[in-house]
Symmetry: C2
Subunit: 339 residues, 2 copies
């Protein structure tokens, strides 16, 4: 039976990802071995870091190999179980990839296999309580160390990670300014997410606007973008500033190496720190983050948005929404409804 | 009486500093007020950071003003004292500037005024026990946090700061590799300062040689240079690496902004930290550093070199020795012998 639809990595990208980088295939539905379960994917997660997984280079995870289904986090439903901890019908979180069916087991793959707690909607589990929410939580709190009254600047602020990072900073008593692209995103950040101010990088002079909106300078810069935005932020860091390097989406589709900021010496003059991290290192502390995040959501202090696309055929194009900035909030795609 | 010779800042540099940036002048010998002393400069300190003081921009110290004597640390001798703590003939450390005479008092100016301890040679006080030695000590130990068995890479390794940083790392049980320009400097680092290996950036492929000499990758990079050297080092950082930004001499004479490294995302992938500092912040802990440094010198574990120029007329040209790499070790200039 060949009814496991898949999008396989067909060739490595040079620049922007297109449908040509993937090949549609239909293969057999795999059979779970001892201790394993067969999962049907319902929702796929899209994250800027997936662009890096397509490159053949050493990184924090091995590259996706040519001919393999594209790697992606997912929420699915157990179809068949050889594992006592999982029953048919359970809603689970795993690294399902761009396909209908997969075999999974706890401790295997990037995300292992875990049940989605009763009553938590899948789109919440894949966004504010998922990798992007945890990235915001640990990056901001552990590396950024925001203190009450400090100024926190966030780039990619309307994204799934940036929007949560900014709101946590507000909860911690900081002045929070977000950088995002376009009036819709900026309006949402100010009116819904409660940011103190916003900078529309598509229509404003970012450097001048940072100076204007951060009169006490920037104590924490939570950066998802890199490039010119990082350079502009470094121009305005305060003494002992913390720059949290979360991502650098501005360069992910570049075909040539992109020069870094010309003003790294500001880190010396201002005794600043710039630090990178990967949320995988914090997975053993996920419970702590999820408890806090759920509390804030329940109290109405933390808003999140999900951009839900649909349809197996739309999977490759949905990845690009992250790079063209079309997504407002966490980018997901629904493959199927639970049975 | 107009016999206080001075080199005044005449115009701000654009690119390499030349004699034209300074104006020779002879002025009156100043008179010390209450609590002040008159000091005659004997030895001047030259440091790459002085290049930054000539620029009209916000930094960790105010810029030297046009018409002012160029700022510089110095060792001098008390000629006349209105302060009970200082007697005529005392050898003192202060921020004497490029001139014969100045008025100083404790707590005034960058370095204040302090007596050089009995028996400590002035050239030791201005080098390994001075600002450059303290910079190496606090930068390496407080920011770099080297652990036994780790690999420490140092750029500008034959300089007054780099050579001390590398040797402290050796004392702490690390594998230490230095990057320096030319065979003489490299030989001194290996044969005298005990570095495990050296890279001659003028004659070798730095990136390839880091890979070769740091088989376990780089845990601490102590950077005095920036630019291409920083980029090469970032290619080879280990997990949880610490990049200590001490200086960026490669760009100090640039006339256009110099792009930063293209590979800052390696800080994300490797969970690395890059941090800047200014030694002034550590001056209250100078005693702790000097005790350790003197102990290591006494035990023969810490070598230092002084490049001593002479003559008031040679002051402007001596600054450039730092940027052409002519100096081997700490750059000083003797104006006069103590009386």
């Amino acid at each position: 039976m060949n009814n496991n639809r898949q999008w396989l990595l067909a060739k490595r990208p040079h620049g922007v990802v297109t449908r040509d980088n993937f090949e549609y295939a239909e293969g057999p539905i795999p059979e779970p071995g001892e201790g394993e379960v067969l999962v049907r994917n319902l929702f796929l997660s899209f994250d800027p870091t997936q662009r890096g997984w397509m490159e053949d280079r050493e990184s924090y995870l091995p590259p996706v190999q040519i001919g393999e289904p594209m790697r992606a986090g997912s929420i699915g439903q157990v179809v068949e179980s050889n594992n006592d901890e999982f029953a048919k019908g359970d809603i689970v979180q795993t690294t399902g990839g761009w396909q209908d069916f997969l075999v999974a087991a706890p401790g295997q793959g990037v995300m292992g296999l875990s049940k989605v707690p009763e009553g938590v909607p899948p789109e919440m589990m894949l966004s504010v309580l998922g990798v992007t929410g945890l990235t915001a939580y640990f990056g901001l709190l552990d590396l950024g160390e925001p203190k009450e009254g400090e100024t926190v600047l966030v780039s990619g602020a309307a994204g799934a990670t940036g929007s949560v990072a900014g709101q946590i900073a507000k909860i911690k008593g900081c002045r929070v300014v977000g950088i995002a692209g376009g009036p819709d995103k900026c309006r949402w950040l100010k009116e819904e997410a409660g940011f103190d101010d916003v900078i529309d990088y598509k229509n404003e002079d970012v450097d001048a606007r940072i100076a204007e909106t951060c009169p006490n300078k920037v104590d924490v810069f939570f950066d998802n973008v890199g490039g010119d935005i990082l350079e502009a932020a470094l121009n305005h860091i305060n003494m002992k500033a913390r720059v949290v390097l979360c991502g650098g989406i501005s360069a992910y589709n570049a075909t040539e190496p992109v020069p870094g900021p010309t003003n790294l010496m500001n880190l010396v003059i201002m005794r600043g720190r710039m630090e990178g991290f990967i949320v995988i290192d914090y997975m053993h502390r996920a419970g702590e983050a999820i408890t806090d995040l759920m509390g804030w959501i329940g109290a109405g202090e933390l808003k999140y948005q999900v951009d839900m696309q649909e349809g197996f055929d739309n999977i490759p194009d949905t990845l690009n929404r992250l790079f063209t900035g079309k997504n407002l909030g966490k980018q997901l795609l629904k493959i199927a409804d639970p049975s």
